[in-house]
């Protein structure tokens, strides 16, 4: 054992004596730091771009549009939009204000509707002209020619009320209003559910609808509880807690819209269904799974807000997400270094001629070869440790501690539980290193067998690039079908640490926010088995090692 550790020590000394490797490691450490900086830079750029479209720019744009039209409904439309923006601006409410975010759309709608019904009432515009104009979306099919006046009066009153709400109300008032509105709506749904249950006694067809409403209304209670917490604690608008509520609320609305699955007859005749699902039972099962997943997501959001543990997907910039994605990016860098190392560590002995002195020592060739392999693993291990600390340091520097130590939330047996963030990061590191090990083994194999360093490096890097390209292309496929029986989907093992709840939340959140999430990764992981992935890697790893050590023992050292 001592002699083997001496062999490993020899290899490490040789590695760290090489100036090129030292330079490479320094560059890599700089890149370790650069990745979070780059990430932060991109975020700043995106924010900068969104900031570019501020209220002044929009006002200037609509002023130009108004100038382009001398008269007609188009001019009216742009003029009203311009006045609406000016109204918010004159009251000091820019795009960042909660009033603008929550009430601009509705207020503009009232203004536009009020105007078009006034025109219709006055007879300055015909219904046909209104329908062909930009005002079309403001027209209600139920309003007839006789109602134009009353519709105008009603809209005018509502517009004025909304106007005073925008100017005078505090966020607490807003929370209070939406809370009370939602409470009222909830009562209506409760009553509807009771009716459904009563009908169930007579009609089996309602069972899916009842199931859907039960899930939705349980979640509705949770969202109300979140909202109450936000309301009572005057939580800032646009904070992660507010977003948690907004996401939960959007999920509840989606669940309520489900009502029930399509009938067997519709399933059998509509290709949208029968091509995607194995059979009707499979469809029902997945429908129920989706509902339950959303129910669990709302439970997690509630737990998250009440216990002050943010989920990653509702934050503009999650330190934990940044840390884990930085870890993965940097492991790619480590892989390139390790592949170069593996490609050269044996081949260099032959190209320089030092192999002739190395292999005439009282150690078997495979023992010497193994010491080289182990030394690469040690370097990779050390670089991973370095990566973990540097990534942590720079994530904290850029994003702050944030949620970096916050536990991950999972639902188990119907209860929300906290799982260690450290274990998730460790799992990310270990699983990401799986493909690194395989790429390194391939490069090492080519280096040992062909004695060509460049060949080893090219094979190692091509392996990674080629598989990542294939993997990226299968991300476009929602159903892995037969691919799940091949090693390809297991290429990125880190997908197995992706969270189902985060996936469901991010799906709901994506309606409003552009984000780079692990959405597709979870979709792939959910179809795969982590043990199958580990077995797959173990298989190829063993094949690789056999291909290295068995022939090398018999090789001749001619150079």
């Amino acid at each position: 054992m001592k002699s083997f550790s001496n062999l490993v020590k020899n290899e490490l000394i040789k590695i760290f004596a090489q100036t090129a490797y030292k330079v490479f490691i320094i560059i890599m450490v700089v890149l370790f730091m650069f990745v979070p900086l780059l990430s932060k830079g991109l975020t700043a750029l995106v924010n900068g771009l969104s900031g570019f479209f501020d209220i002044e720019d929009d006002i200037a744009y609509y002023e130009e549009m108004v100038d382009d039209y001398n008269d007609g409904l188009e001019r009216d439309y742009y003029e009203i939009t311009l006045k609406t923006l000016e109204f918010f601006q004159s009251n000091g409410l820019d795009y960042e204000s909660w009033q603008y975010s929550t009430m601009y759309g509705d207020y503009l709608y009232f203004c536009l509707s009020e105007h078009i019904y006034k025109c219709l009432r006055d007879g300055t515009v015909t219904l046909e002209e209104a329908k062909e104009s930009l005002f079309d979306s403001c027209l209600d099919d139920n309003v007839t020619e006789l109602d134009y006046g009353s519709a105008y009066e009603l809209l005018s009153t509502e517009r004025k009320e909304y106007e005073s709400l925008i100017i005078d109300s505090e966020i607490a008032d807003y929370y209070e209003k939406i809370y009370n509105d939602l409470l009222e709506t909830k009562k209506a749904y409760d009553s509807y559910l009771l009716d459904l249950k009563a009908n169930k006694l007579f009609n089996e067809e309602y069972k899916y609808e009842i199931f859907s409403y039960e899930r939705a209304l349980e979640s509705y209670d949770d969202t109300l509880e979140i909202l109450k917490f936000i309301k009572d604690n005057s939580i800032d608008y646009n904070s992660w807690k507010y977003h948690s509520w907004a996401v939960a609320q959007s999920m509840v609305l989606e669940m309520l819209s489900y009502n029930g699955p399509v009938s067997l007859q519709e399933f059998s005749t509509n290709s949208i269904y029968y091509e995607e699902y194995d059979d009707y039972e499979d469809y029902i099962e997945q429908w129920e799974t989706t509902l339950n997943d959303e129910r669990e997501a709302v439970m997690v959001l509630k737990y998250s807000v009440l216990n002050n543990i943010p989920t990653q997907s509702v934050q503009e910039s999650s330190s934990k997400a940044t840390y884990n994605s930085t870890l993965i990016s940097n492991i790619e860098l480590i892989m390139y270094f390790a592949v170069v190392l593996a490609g050269l560590i044996v081949a260099n002995e032959f190209s320089s001629g030092s192999a002739r002195l190395l292999f005439i020592r009282p150690h078997s060739r495979n023992k010497i070869l193994l010491s080289k392999y182990v030394s690469i693993l040690i370097v990779v291990f050390v670089l991973n440790i370095l990566n973990a600390f540097i990534s942590f340091g720079f994530t904290v520097m850029i994003n702050g501690i944030g949620d970096i130590f916050a536990p991950n939330l999972v639902v188990s047996d119907g209860i929300v539980k906290e799982s260690s963030a450290f274990l998730v990061s460790l799992g990310t590191i270990v699983l990401t290193n799986m493909r690194l090990l395989l790429a390194v083994s391939l490069a090492f194999m080519m280096s040992a067998l062909c004695k060509k360093g460049a060949l080893g490096i090219i094979v190692g890097i091509l392996f990674d690039v080629f598989l990542s390209l294939i993997y990226s292309s299968i991300m476009l496929v929602s159903d892995l079908a037969f691919l799940k029986f091949t090693p390809i989907p297991y290429y990125m093992m880190e997908i197995f640490v992706s969270s189902k709840v985060e996936y469901v939340i991010s799906q709901a959140y994506m309606n409003n926010v552009i984000m780079l999430s692990n959405t597709s990764q979870y979709q792939i992981a959910s179809q795969l088995n982590v043990w199958a992935g580990l077995a797959n890697f173990a298989f190829w790893f063993v094949i690789c090692l056999l291909a290295i050590f068995v022939p090398f023992k018999k090789q001749e050292i001619k150079n």
């Binding site: 001592k2 002699s3 001496n6 062999l7 020590k9 020899n10 000394i13 040789k14 004596a17 090489q18 100036t19 320089s352 001629g353 030092s354 002739r356 002195l357 292999f359 005439i360 020592r361 009282p362 150690h363 078997s364 018999k554 001749e556 050292i557 001619k558």
Partner: protein, 321 residues
């Protein structure tokens, strides 16, 4: 041993340090070594001499386990290189071709690389090896700054640092200056004759082996064509002693040789080379005196290693150097 000329079977002793028996090696269809056999005894310096491409380095690489043995065997201190590699190779220090080491490391760091590969040696031996090759002052410099001669010395140091019983040196004096070669030669003789280390040394420098080796194995076209002591080599192929004769009358002298039926060569004006027994030589001298020929010089001619080598190679049907 097909094609081998064994001058003195009695010179073999018990338990040779290196024993090569019927060694064969081919690369593809090309036969490189054909039934090579020889031993190196304790404290003996055996030269392996042969023209380029004759199989010297291949023999050494097979002995060191760097190449796979097709047939035959190599034992070092009784251990078979093929089956008991680690025990066999523990007893060997070697230089194969140029001793290439790690240029980013210092001389000492390079030696430490090899030092750490042995369990039962101490740093004193390493220091002794450094001192012995005269590198004490430069040992902590990176070897990228070393001259070829210094690298060669370092190569010798790495071969010695674990106190081997056998040194296998393939063209070890490449890059050494004349003084270095002399020091090296004296050092090898000291190691062999005083320390009892056996040495197998290959070289294309005939003069180097001439004054160094106890025995020389001549290899040509993958075959050993002769293993001789230096004394035997010098007289190889001589059934009678050769003499150089300088006279003042070549015509009368030629007639005397022809009369006595003696073969002769005129190697210069009035200068002859003859191979005769000692009593015949005396008769010739008497006859020349009686016929008035003045003999200016009459001396035996000693054969050089080169002469013997060329004769051996020529007789074996191979090419010359």
């Amino acid at each position: 041993m097909d094609g081998m000329i064994v001058a003195n079977e009695n010179s073999k002793k018990e338990n040779p340090v290196l024993s090569i028996n019927n060694l064969c090696k081919s690369f593809g269809s090309r036969r490189i070594l054909d039934n090579i056999s020889f031993d190196v005894e304790k404290g003996e310096i055996l030269g392996l001499l042969g023209p380029n491409g004759s199989g010297k380095t291949t023999t050494i690489k097979l002995a060191l386990g760097l190449l796979k043995i097709d047939a035959g065997n190599v034992t070092i201190c009784g251990y078979d290189v093929k089956n008991d590699f680690e025990k066999a190779i523990r007893n060997v220090g070697a230089i194969v071709e140029n001793p290439e080491m790690y240029k980013n490391l210092t001389g000492r760091q390079n030696l430490m690389q090899y030092y750490r590969m042995y369990d039962d040696i101490n740093l004193e031996t390493l220091e002794w090896a450094i001192k012995s090759v005269g590198l004490s002052n430069r040992i902590d410099e990176k070897i990228s700054k070393y001259s070829l001669g210094m690298r060669q010395r370092l190569g010798i140091a790495q071969a010695l640092l674990h106190s081997p019983k056998l040194l296998i040196l393939d063209e070890p004096t490449n890059g050494l200056d004349p003084e270095g070669i002399k020091q090296f030669r004296d050092f090898l003789i000291y190691l062999a004759h005083e320390k009892g280390i056996s040495v197998l040394i290959s070289s294309h420098l005939l003069a180097e082996l001439d004054s160094l080796c106890d025995r020389v194995a001549v290899i040509n076209s993958g075959r050993i064509v002769g293993i001789q002591t230096m004394e035997q080599i010098r007289h190889f192929g001589e059934e009678k002693a050769s003499y150089k004769l300088i006279v003042d009358n070549s015509e009368i002298t030629s007639s005397v040789f022809e009369e006595k039926g003696i073969e002769y060569q005129i190697i210069a004006e009035n200068t002859f080379k003859v191979s005769v027994d000692e009593d015949v030589a005396e008769t010739i001298m008497t006859m020349l005196f009686e016929r008035g020929v003045r003999v200016k010089a009459f001396a035996p001619i000693e054969k050089t290693l080169e002469d013997a080598f060329i004769q051996m190679v020529t007789e074996s049907g191979g090419s010359k150097i």
